[in-house]
């Protein structure tokens, strides 16, 4: 799917594909276009051709980071709204998940902590048994324990619903490495990298003239980013080689000097 949207000071132009049975990560800094992409996908805004994407919202579950149902409502009330809004809302699953995560259904949302609210939003989205889940920074603002609970929730859901497509956007990427199958890196409205196999990436430190740098992509200072880790592991036992994590990839692809 192609997403194109021009604002005054910003242009989003990228291609992204959501595949069934795949968890896709969209990683980018604040303002890189992640939320705009979501809005375009959902048909909340129109693209440059004045088209609004038509999606069947009955089959999409969305979690926004900065938005929820009205905070004066409590969970029981929201459950009612959902029951009347969606044909396939799973009440039993919803109740079960509420008790599993010890969320009080009678408390109004404004009394929920950030972590509880995030978990609730994901529970709502997964109770729709939707074919597609769009999660906009679902772990942002959560402590470590809550983050892991949220990620485990998603893993369980994928195990039970194997044909779902999930798109998760984040600017804190460390959570996503152990979860996502495909990674899109977005910067200033453009996809700068799309990868499935992060394990082929590494950071090379202390490379002198004897090292063949033809597989190095970027460098910051004297450290190089490469996507041919095994080549360097096998040929340069004395070179310091570190696994490159998502955050490293972001940093080097955006700020690094091209080699």
């Amino acid at each position: 799917m192609r997403f194109v949207k021009t604002y005054n000071d910003f242009k989003l132009d990228c291609k992204l594909e959501l595949k069934p049975g795949t968890i896709t990560a969209l990683i980018g800094c604040n303002g890189s276009g992640k939320t705009t992409l979501f809005k375009l996908y959902l048909g909340l805004i129109e693209d440059d051709d004045k088209h609004t994407n038509q999606v069947n919202k009955e089959e999409i579950g969305v979690v926004w980071n900065d938005s929820s149902f009205s905070l004066v409502l409590n969970v029981l009330e929201i459950k009612k709204i959902l029951m009347y809004s969606y044909k396939h809302f799973d009440c039993d699953y919803f109740d079960f998940m509420l008790s599993r995560f010890e969320l009080d259904p009678k408390k109004p949302l404004k009394e929920y902590s950030t972590g509880m609210l995030s978990k609730l939003k994901i529970i709502i989205a997964t109770s729709l048994h939707a074919k597609t889940l769009l999660l906009d920074e679902p772990t942002s603002g959560l402590d470590v324990i809550a983050r892991n609970e949220v990620l485990d929730l998603l893993r369980d859901y994928m195990e039970q619903n194997e044909e779902t497509s999930i798109l998760i956007s984040s600017h804190i990427a460390s959570d996503l490495e152990g979860l996502c199958d495909e990674f899109y890196f977005i910067e200033k409205g453009k996809i700068i990298l799309c990868e499935q196999d992060l394990e082929s990436y590494a950071l090379l430190k202390g490379a002198d003239e004897t090292v063949d740098l033809s597989y190095a992509l970027k460098k910051i200072g004297m450290t190089y980013l490469t996507n041919e880790r095994q080549f360097y592991v096998e040929n340069y036992p004395n070179l310091v080689i570190e696994k490159a994590h998502i955050d490293d990839l972001m940093e080097y692809m955006i700020k690094g000097e091209t080699v």
């Binding site: 809005k39 959902l42 909340l44 805004i45 069947n56 919202k57 009955e58 999409i60 579950g61 969305v62 926004w64 900065d66 938005s67 929820s68 149902f69 009205s70 905070l71 004066v72 409502l73 009330e77 009612k80 709204i81 959902l82 029951m83 009347y84 809004s85 969606y86």
Partner: protein
């Protein structure tokens, strides 16, 4: 749309105490003058039904709302339907409350029409710009009309007398019923305008 109606009723119930208090004032005031009760209660309910829009828009709430399977025009239609329903409930309440005198009922119909016209005028603004501007429009219209009438009354005393005499020649039933029908029609047109307007609304 059912989900939206459920939501708005639940939201209004949050203001339960305020509503009951208002009804209480209305009833007390209404002991002396039934038209006060009618006007007051209907206006209060009409305005309260608009408050659901501010709940929707607070804290980027529209982003979540529109992930529900509704379109922009569904949202607008539901607001009109909901406001109509609330005003209708108020109308029934006031009618039961009032002594069932014929003239009282006519007045109730006229006030109902006024409430509908008020909603018809302010809903498009509320939906377009968000609650703040909508409220301003509401006040401007209400006070504007009050000042207008006071002004006209001051400087053209015959103005109202002549209107009254014209009105008195009309059959009161015909008049109030046709006024009501007209306001329904205008209400419907207002909805069409709002749907148009909301299409361009940025959801944040």
């Amino acid at each position: 749309m059912k989900g939206l109606l459920v939501k708005d009723f639940l939201l209004m119930m949050k203001s339960k105490k305020v509503i009951l208090f208002m009804l209480f004032i209305g009833i007390i005031g209404g002991i002396n003058d039934i038209s006060f009760a009618t006007g007051y209660i209907l206006m209060v309910l009409a305005i309260l039904s608009l408050s659901t829009i501010s709940y929707d828009e607070a804290n980027h709430g529209l982003k979540t709302l529109f992930t529900l399977p509704i379109s922009k025009s569904d949202y607008v239609k539901e607001k009109y339907l909901f406001s109509l329903m609330i005003t209708g409930i108020g109308f029934v309440f006031v009618t039961i409350l009032g002594c069932f005198s014929k003239s009282g009922f006519m007045e109730t119909l006229i006030i109902l029409s006024t409430a509908l016209l008020l909603l018809a005028l302010s809903l498009p603004f509320q939906l377009k710009e968000g609650n703040e501007k909508g409220r301003i429009v509401l006040f401007v219209v209400v006070f504007g009309c009050t000042f207008l009438f006071a002004f006209l009354n001051q400087f053209i005393p015959k103005f109202f007398e002549s209107i009254e005499s014209v009105l008195n020649t009309l059959d009161p039933i015909m008049f109030s019923v046709s006024l009501l029908i007209t306001s329904f029609v205008l209400y419907f047109f207002s909805m069409m305008i709002s749907i148009r307007v909301y299409k361009n609304r940025v959801l944040d």
